[in-house]
Symmetry: C2
Subunit: 205 residues, 2 copies
């Protein structure tokens, strides 16, 4: 999240899914070995943020995401040749992914253990399915902001890690919009500060 509250910049598009300036929010993570390894790249840096990323990725058994994070508007899905989202033939998840959408679609099994299952009956159903698929491991909430907001307001978030990047984006997709007047049971339990990003971890009381 930027200092002014955005997780993507203005004018998001298929060509520029992070919006104008949105790439600045990821500048701290892309060089890390802890990010490169699960994405199939060798090498990379180790710094104070590494343990945060490792902790966040450890023990994830399933992911939930919104339609936009899977691959944009279903108008772009050709039923005869449906595309596989932003994530290519070998997505970096390596576990079951549940996509919240209003448009039913057959599940999609890709290389490396990633399957996309399309859920049309709401956030609680997606969570139930993800929990079962995760077999006791954690369920990661992938985004976007609207998905995070829905789970937050339903009181279904047990942990939240904010990566606060000290930049302004001036507009775009706001992470916390109309999220109510309390933290829905969460409290700040740990802060890791670096010049490029401040990691704020919240856990259910």
């Amino acid at each position: 999240m930027s200092l002014d509250g955005f997780i993507a910049g203005p004018d998001q598009s298929v060509e520029n899914p992070l919006g104008i300036g949105g790439d600045q929010l990821h500048g701290w993570v892309l060089p890390l070995a802890a990010w490169r390894e699960p994405h199939g790249f060798p090498g990379g840096e180790v710094n104070e943020s590494s343990k945060v990323v490792e902790e966040e990725q450890a023990g994830i058994g399933a992911t939930i995401m919104g339609r936009n994070m899977f691959g944009g508007h279903p108008g772009s899905w050709n039923p005869n040749d449906p595309w596989n989202g932003w994530w290519g033939d070998d997505p970096p998840f390596h576990h079951p992914v549940f996509v919240l959408t209003h448009h039913a679609r057959e599940a999609l099994a890709l290389k490396g253990g990633t399957t996309f299952t399309f859920v049309t009956d709401g956030i609680e159903s997606a969570l139930d399915q993800a929990r079962e698929a995760a077999s006791g491991k954690d369920v990661m909430l992938g985004g976007g902001a609207d998905v995070a907001q829905q789970y937050l307001q339903a009181g279904l978030v047990d942990e939240m890690e904010i990566h606060l990047v000290p930049v302004f984006l001036g507009g775009g997709e706001r992470l916390f919009d109309g999220v109510g007047r309390d933290l829905h049971g969460l409290e700040l339990v740990r802060t890791v500060a670096t010049p490029d990003v401040v990691h704020l971890k919240f856990v259910r009381r």
Copy 2:
């Protein structure tokens, strides 16, 4: 600032100038000896936030604030009996204060060295007058958000300390709204983390 970006809650009024829930943003500072002393109260706590408050208050020679922070809408000012703002007869500033307003008014000298001067010709004029009055000391930008935004966008802010409080207010007065796509020359130089507040200090490169 709350985690969702507000420096006051919704429904601000004369009775409730911080808006609904806005008092949560000040919960960390009110018990501190470093806050109590300049406000005329004895005692108080010393903790990790103390040095941040002391550093922020040290060497301030003048303050600039908006009309609302002085004392609400001038419709509430009776020219025959103008009130002295929110701050009482002995305001906690103890130095010259410049109030940005569209309504000219005689300067107001109160107890303890605080004078309020009302500036109607813009933010640069107010800064010039405050700098001269400060005689080499720092000029504090008091708020509200619109005043901070105007000085930020004009590139006139040399230091910025954000006290990020891990709560949601759900609405209200947003600190950073339409502040552009860069930090106007500022960069994050120091973070102090506590469970109740995270202090983020930005300084001009």
